[in-house]
Each structure stands twice: as structure tokens, then as C-alpha cells.
């Protein structure tokens, strides 16, 4: 699966604008571009996109917006997530006592600095209120250009300072995490899904089997080494987060492992920033309840989580944050179980200490928590803290094929590389991985080679990979060579073996599959400069008629241009091949042995008939039936019959029909012939004589 491509936000904004009906587009452009004259649509779209990346103009446009709209943009900028559900944005504004409903969103849409995410099947937009209704109201998604969101981050949100007064501005010693916990867990869940993809229900929820698998997985369900507050269903959070960040893709209702996005090749902070940015799309999870898909699709987790982080600007007590959320967040209190009397303090502890702390966003001192230097860089725009020191040699490959990975030397790139070919067994101060045949195989299937795997282990190893382990990897890799599957190969069928020989000598094909069929080494398209195509068949299309049964009923001639490989493979079950004639025409012959072989291999006569009907247009010939069934029928009887031949078919019909003669007719043998029992012949002749018909002979 290809990596998620980088999003071209300018193109995306232009596409959205292009879906506006012209009057609406001109209305929006009047506010965004402010053209002096009426301009063609394309020109207007180009100018609109140019404005979106023009920082001074954007600053002015943002400044023109009402406070609620500016705060909405600020939330998008601070979260680093340019896509939000409208319902979440309105929830955030509501928590700040802005209860203007859809108006702040509509204002930004009309100003051309917020855009609706459009379903390609829906009609173009005439007006935003109608779109809002059609797109699912609060579940409708809007986005902005990241450049705009970044410019809006400085807006004062008016959040209170809940800093603990007892600390009196002092900075107590604080605990900080290394930020590796979630990248490691996301890599582990990626590995799980890579090994066994997860189907989702029609309601886009997890099946119970997969939920249990995540809840009981020894790596994902284990508490973090530096756990301060427990969270429920950490494995589910890792799964949903991995999906949100693009590590897992959704294909036809199944979660599948993609390739690691390019952020995993960069520094740790860039990856953590991306993980933070994808938190708002993690909906069906809650620190207290764990996996909790909602019916209306709007969970308070993304909004309450972001507000909790913003309230922890200075050291705050988690209870104070919970109290503020309890009284301000419009829906969060509803997810706190009624038997919990702490007004959501446990939820806040779970989010800040169980999610944000391992991500490196906050630091902790006793019961107090505040944004770390990295958290302040992300949320408040402070300077980026220095990167953690690098320890490139951090692996120890043991002779039993276990790998110890000392945590301080792990980087996103190394975590991603290890995840492709070694199975995570434990995440701790020293993480443990295991080299297994299955995981080696998956690594090779993902495009790695054996030298690449060994090189990774050596480059990051504190000592060289033991020779026994290299041998083991070599053995597992060579096992993969035993069976090769070509999923969509192009096969070249020649008319004679000699022509295949020539094609091999010319390099047109490299592999001989049969005496007449060859293929290039990678199963790809051969060079056509050496070939004159006499047929072109698509294996996945419906089989065509390509067989002619001769008059003898047993000789089958293949119509070569129409024939396909299935015919080649199947016909041998029914018939014996005859030598190819000079014109290259292939013939087969039905024999009692060949037909019996088909029956013995489990193909009943109905099957054979169906195959012949599909391939030749008629069921098995009469001669074929004789060969196949003759021996099973009652033995034929040899009897003497008196044959009476009549002058015309009409007279013969009359003799068979008239009651005076009908009783003497033993059998109608043909249009003009009937048979009569010898003993009854005299009576038959007399009956006809009465009609004036004299039987001669």
C-alpha cells in the first residue's frame, strides 16, 4: 500500500471553492480577494488561492472577523489539525461562552478562510446553511488552510488561569517522559493489524473479537513504564490513533496496515507533533470508559482534551481543570459515569497523565501538571526545545533471536524499521523484540531484503548480529523462495515448443512454464517487438467458446485465438492431447479412459456437460456419452423385426395413428419405416387391405 500522500492544501481549498455555485463564489471572493472588476471564475479561483498563502493579507482578513470566529480559527491553529467537525468547533466556542450557533462557522465560510469538506456525490453548494443540513449538521466537516490556522494561533481565547496559588510561581522539580511511549504503541498496533487486518462492523465499530484482542494483547494492554494515571483500553486508543495518523488505512470496511508515513523518518518532535495533531480525530475513546463509540458520532474527548491541555499553561491541579470543564463544557459532564463523584477529575487525570504525559506534552509535579517545553512549543508557539541526544547503537541481538532495544537510542525511523521485520514483545526501559519466521517474511514482503534487515541490526547494534541469527534469517528468507505467487502475470503462449525456445534465446521471456508457454522474470509485459500477436486474452474475463467438436463426436479442435489458459488446464481432465499439426492447430480426443478420469476426479456428467456447453456451445457429444456411459447402461438386445416401409411420411403417420393398424405397430423406426411383430403381420396386412392398401412382400 502506498504511503499517505502529502496533502496539497491550496489545491484542496481551490477544489472546494470550485464547487460553489457562481453567485456564492463571487460573494466569498468579494470578501477574500476583493476584486475591483468582475473576473472570470478560473481567474477568481487562482487569486483566491494566492490570497490564502499571502500572510499579510490573511492577517488582515482574520482581524476583520468577529471574536468567536477568530477563536474558532485559533483552536484549529493550536490543535495543528486543519480538519474539524463543526460540532466540535461549536462545542469549543460554547465552552468559552460563545453560543452563537452556526454563525461563527458561516462567517468564516463566507469570508473564504474556512471551507466545507464536500462529498463528491453531493450537488454544488448554493448556500452554506443548506450544505450544513445536508452534510449532517454537527458531523459536517470543515477545514482551513494550515497557513491560515497558524496565523490565527495568537488569538486570546480568554481561558482562565487555574495555576495553583500555593506554588507561588515557583517551579518545582517535574517529571517528563521521553515521548516514545505512544510511537512505540502505535508501531505495535500497526504490526498487529499488518499480521491480521481488522474488519469493522457496518456501524464502523470494532467487532468484539478484535476488541478483546486489543484488550488482552500483552504489549498493548500492559501499563506504560512511567505510568502515573491508568487509562482504559490503551490498545484501542493506539488503534484509533494509528488510524487517525494514517498508519492504518480503511479499505472497504477493513482496517489495513499502510506504510509508515514520511514523518517517521524525521526527528521525534516532528512525529509527536503529528500525533498531537491527529488527537482531535480520535473520537470513540474515553480515558475512563475506554472504547466508547457514540451514536451521534460526536465524542467530547477531542474538545475536552484540548481544553484541558490549554488550561494547564502553568502548574494546575487536575481537580481544578476538571471543575472548570464540569461547569463550562456543554457535553463532557454527560460522559462521566453517574457513580463517579469526582466531577470528572479521574477523566482529566487519565487524559493529561495517561495520554498527554507519555506524549511529552505535559510535565508533572506531584498532583500538579503543566505544559512541558515541547507542549508549550506546540500549543503556545514557544521556541522548539532542543532535540533529545542520539544514541545510534542501541540494539543487542541475542543468539536466541531476541532483540533488546534500549529505549534512549530509539528514534521514529528505527521504531518503524524494527516494526517491519521484528515482533514487539515488550515495551519498557529496554524494549524486547523477537525475530520470527513470520515477521521476517512480512518484512521481506514489505520490500525489505535480507541484507537490509541485517544491516539495520548491525548499524544500530552494540555488537554484530550473531552468526547463528544471520543463518536463521537466511534460512527463513530462502524458505520464501520455495513458493512464488504471481498475482497478475502476463503469459506468452507460442504455437510450438521450438518458438518458445527462440523466444527464450531472444530474451522475450525468461521462464518456461510449459513446453509452449513462457513468462518474463517478473511476470510483466514482454517486449512486443519480437512478437506477432495472434490472440490476447484476459484471464479474469468470462471464458469464451473456443472448442469445436468434429463430426466423429470425439475429436476436439481448439480455436487458438479464442482459447484461454483455463481451457489449457481443464481440457486435459477430459481428453488426450493429439500431436500439433503443421498449422499449429491443437486437437484433443475423447477416449473412454480420459472421460472416466474426469468422473473419477469428481466431475459428474452434469459438470462435464456444462463445461462443454460453455466451451463449445453443446453438451458432451453423443459419441462422448457412448464412451462414458455405454458400459453403465443395460446391455443392448439383438432382435428380429419385420420392417414395413411406407411410400410417404403422411401414410406412415396415418398407419401409426389409425386405431385399426396402430395396435400392430411395434415401433416407428423412421419417417417411412415401422416395425411389426412377425406373429401380427397377417392381421396388420388384413387391416390395411380393408382400406385398399396392399402390402407387398
Amino acid at each position: 500500500m502506498p504511503a499517505t500522500p502529502e496533502i496539497d492544501w491550496s489545491a484542496r481549498c481551490r477544489d472546494a471553492l470550485a464547487r460553489y455555485a457562481e453567485p456564492l463564489l463571487r460573494l466569498v471572493a468579494d470578501k477574500l480577494v476583493r476584486p475591483r472588476a468582475k473576473q472570470p471564475i478560473d481567474e477568481l479561483l487562482d487569486k483566491a488561492v494566492a490570497v490564502l498563502i499571502n500572510a499579510p493579507v490573511i492577517d488582515r482578513r482574520i482581524k476583520d472577523q468577529p471574536p468567536a470566529s477568530r477563536k474558532l480559527l485559533a483552536f484549529m491553529g493550536i490543535s495543528r489539525q486543519p480538519r474539524w467537525k463543526v460540532g466540535h468547533l461549536l462545542t469549543l466556542l460554547s465552552a468559552l461562552d460563545h453560543n452563537e450557533g452556526f454563525n461563527p462557522v458561516q462567517t468564516l465560510l463566507e469570508a473564504g478562510i474556512l471551507f466545507p469538506e464536500l462529498d463528491p456525490h453531493n450537488p454544488d453548494i448554493e448556500d452554506f446553511a443548506a450544505w450544513f443540513g445536508l452534510a449532517g449538521t454537527h458531523n459536517a466537516v470543515v477545514f482551513t488552510h494550515p497557513g491560515i490556522a497558524t496565523r490565527a494561533r495568537g488569538e486570546d481565547l480568554g481561558l482562565p488561569n487555574l495555576a495553583h496559588e500555593e506554588l507561588g510561581g515557583l517551579t518545582p522539580p517535574a517529571r517528563q517522559s521521553d515521548g516514545l511511549e505512544w510511537p512505540l504503541r502505535l508501531a505495535a498496533v500497526w504490526q498487529q493489524v499488518h499480521a491480521d487486518s481488522m474488519r469493522l462492523t457496518q456501524g464502523n465499530t470494532l467487532f468484539k473479537r478484535d476488541l478483546l484482542r486489543l484488550q488482552s494483547d500483552p504489549v498493548l494492554a500492559a501499563p506504560p513504564i512511567d505510568q502515573i494515571a491508568p487509562i482504559a483500553d490503551a490498545g484501542v486508543l493506539a488503534l484509533l490513533w494509528a488510524r487517525g495518523v494514517g498508519l492504518l488505512g480503511d479499505r472497504d470496511g477493513t482496517l489495513e496496515a499502510g506504510t509508515f508515513p514520511s514523518t517517521w523518518d524525521g526527528p521525534l518532535f516532528a512525529l509527536l507533533a503529528e500525533l498531537f495533531a491527529s488527537l482531535p480525530v480520535v473520537e470513540s475513546w474515553d480515558p475512563l470508559a475506554g472504547y466508547s463509540p457514540t451514536e451521534n458520532g460526536l465524542s467530547p474527548t477531542p474538545t475536552a482534551g484540548l481544553l484541558a491541555l490549554l488550561l494547564a499553561r502553568d502548574f494546575v491541579h487536575t481537580d481544578a481543570v476538571a471543575e472548570w470543564l464540569w461547569s463550562h463544557h456543554p457535553s463532557w459532564a454527560g460522559v462521566i459515569p453517574p457513580d463517579v463523584t469526582d466531577k470528572g477529575a479521574g477523566w482529566v487525570r487519565g487524559y493529561l497523565l495517561g495520554v498527554a504525559y507519555p506524549l511529552g506534552l505535559v510535565e508533572v509535579s506531584g498532583e500538579h501538571v503543566r505544559l512541558s517545553a515541547f507542549g508549550r512549543y506546540l500549543l503556545l508557539g514557544d521556541a522548539e526545545p532542543p532535540a533529545p541526544p542520539a544514541f545510534p547503537q542501541t540494539l543487542l541481538v541475542q543468539p536466541n533471536a531476541e532483540v533488546l532495544a534500549y529505549r534512549q537510542g530509539l528514534t521514529p525511523a528505527l521504531i518503524a524499521a524494527l516494526s517491519r521485520f521484528a515482533a514487539w514483545k515488550g515495551i519498557g526501559p529496554a524494549c524486547t523484540l523477537e525475530l520470527t519466521p513470520e515477521q521476517t517474511y512480512r518484512g521481506l514482503e514489505s520490500g525489505l531484503t535480507l541484507p537490509m534487515i541485517v544491516q539495520t541490526l548491525n548499524r544500530h547494534g552494540t555488537r554484530p548480529v550473531p552468526a547463528g541469527v544471520v543463518d536463521l534469517l537466511q534460512r527463513w528468507a530462502s524458505k520464501r523462495e520455495r513458493i512464488t505467487i504471481f498475482s497478475s502475470a502476463v503469459l506468452v503462449e507460442f504455437q510450438t515448443p521450438a518458438e518458445l525456445d527462440i523466444a527464450v534465446s531472444r530474451g522475450v521471456v525468461a521462464l518456461r512454464l510449459t513446453d509452449r508457454i513462457g513468462m518474463t522474470a517478473d511476470g510483466g509485459e514482454p517486449s512486443l517487438s519480437h512478437l506477432r500477436l495472434v490472440g490476447n486474452r484476459d484471464y479474469e474475463s468470462k471464458p469464451q467458446r473456443c472448442l469445436v467438436t468434429a463430426d466423429d463426436g470425439v475429436t476436439l479442435t481448439v480455436d487458438t485465438p479464442q482459447a484461454d489458459l483455463l481451457l489449457e488446464a481443464e481440457i486435459g481432465q477430459f481428453a488426450e492431447a493429439l500431436p500439433i499439426d503443421q498449422n499449429g492447430v491443437r486437437k484433443f480426443r475423447l477416449t473412454p479412459v480420459s472421460l472416466r478420469r474426469a468422473i473419477e476426479s469428481g466431475r459428474p456428467l452434469t459438470d462435464i456437460d456444462a463445461w462443454f456447453t460453455e466451451r463449445s456451445g453443446s453438451p458432451l457429444s453423443a459419441a462422448g456419452r457412448l464412451l462414458l456411459l455405454g458400459a453403465q447402461m443395460p446391455p443392448p438386445r439383438a432382435v428380429r423385426l419385420l420392417v414395413v416401409k411406407l411410400p410417404t411420411a403422411d401414410i406412415a403417420d396415418g398407419v401409426v395413428q389409425w386405431p385399426g393398424t396402430r395396435m400392430f405397430v411395434a415401433e416407428r423406426l423412421g419417417p417411412l419405416a415401422i416395425s411389426v411383430d412377425e406373429e401380427q403381420f397377417a392381421a396388420f396386412r388384413d387391416a390395411l387391405k380393408e382400406l385398399g392398401v396392399n402390402v407387398v412382400g
Partner: protein, 75 residues
Amino acid sequence: MNNPTARLPAKLHRRVCLVLTEDAVLAEELLARKKLASEVAGRLSEKVLLIRPGRLDAVLDELRKMGHTPQVVGK
């Protein structure tokens, strides 16, 4: 084929799903597996099995259940 540069008459079969085994015994072993045999449309040669259209994933699953680690080309 007297002319060494003459084009060779040939028919192309596209989008064919094949299993190539290291040896004939391995192909026999695969065909002895009932579930796998039902996905095989035919045996082109001792070491080449033709898979029914659209049955690649089922074949892969079954091979992996048998403990094989097939190399997949072109998926």
C-alpha cells in the same frame, strides 16, 4: 523459423494468477490440500499451478496456514 528476426506468433494471457513451486513434490503437496486444490484451476506443468480468477487471497491464507511463506510478485 528460417528468418532469425521474424516476429514469433504468440498469444498473450493477461492477469493470470500462478503459483510456481520450487519442485514438483511441493506442487503435489499443495494439491493434496483439499482447500487449496479447490482453488487451483489446473496444473500447467509439474511446478506451475493455475489459480482460479479472484482467489489469490484465499490461496495465500491457505498457504500461510500450511506454514509456507510464499513470495508474492505483483500484488
